[in-house]
């Protein structure tokens, strides 16, 4: 039975790009060793400032791997990462269940809205240019200007 996991690790800023790819290949090799497991997605976030110092590092290269695997596989990866000095921080999270829940709530919400719209005699889908404010989905920016307290309770 495979489950979906997310692995994020922070590579020391001293590491070169080659070393970062090498780490990815090492993890890939472990994943290949197990049967029926795969890396679904790899995402290099690049170099970011750390919110606090880890060791004496102030920066780090973040890499996200979405892995379809088993508990044993993640245990092995976790063990290997722990002995790798180049990786200064890592986090493994199981995501398949939460993603299923999110999907379900989304589906339920759109079903409700479609049912209500049809009941009001409107087409099931939202038409462009409809509603008071544009759909907030795309322009999230307005929600982050909360340096002042008032922004909080909109």
């Amino acid at each position: 039975m495979t489950r979906k996991y997310e692995l994020v690790y922070v590579v020391s800023p001293e590491a070169s790009d080659d070393q970062v790819t090498d780490l990815h290949n090492q993890i890939d090799a472990i994943v290949q060793r197990f049967s029926g497991t795969s890396i679904e997605k790899t995402d290099n976030w690049g170099r970011r400032r750390l919110a606090y110092e880890i060791g004496r590092h102030k920066e780090g290269t973040y890499v996200l791997e979405v892995i379809n695997g088993t508990g044993e596989l993640m245990k092995e990866i976790d063990r290997r990462i722990k002995v790798t000095d180049l990786i200064i921080r890592h986090l493994v999270v199981r995501v398949d269940e939460t993603q299923a829940v999110i999907e379900r709530t989304k589906a339920a919400r759109s079903a409700t809205s479609q049912r209500r719209r049809v009941a009001r005699g409107l087409p099931a889908e939202r038409q462009p240019g409809e509603g008071q404010r544009g759909d907030a989905d795309d322009d999230r920016d307005d929600r982050f200007d909360m340096g002042n307290e008032r922004g909080m309770d909109r």
């Binding site: 922070v10 919110a51 996200l64 982050f144 307290e149 909080m152």
Partner: protein, 97 residues
């Protein structure tokens, strides 16, 4: 209001009334707080989305309480988990110096 902490003037304050100039008591205006995640329909409170989480960690980097932010119980629980994961990855701070 005298003697009490003067939080009353702020949004998050508890004071129900305030003393007018002429000594009359009138209800204080306070906008109703709504859960940001409910109103914006954000289902996924993700630990990777530091931009989303940052407003909930004020200066001292403590988690903003529900009482102030107006987040509903369900979303505050999810938010807390996300914040704690993000902290581990040094995306948001544990504390400010």
């Amino acid at each position: 209001m005298n003697g009490r902490k003067s939080f009353g003037a702020k949004k998050g304050g508890r004071g129900g009334t305030t003393q007018g100039k002429d000594g009359q008591r009138r209800p204080m205006f306070r906008r109703r707080k709504v859960c940001k995640f409910c109103s914006d329909k954000i289902d996924d409170i993700n630990y990777k989305d530091a931009k989303l989480l940052l407003p909930f960690v004020p200066e001292r980097a403590k988690i903003l309480p529900r009482r102030i932010s107006g987040t509903c119980a369900l979303h505050q629980r999810k938010l807390r988990v996300a914040l704690m994961r993000a902290r581990q990855l040094a995306l948001i701070p544990y504390t400010a110096e």
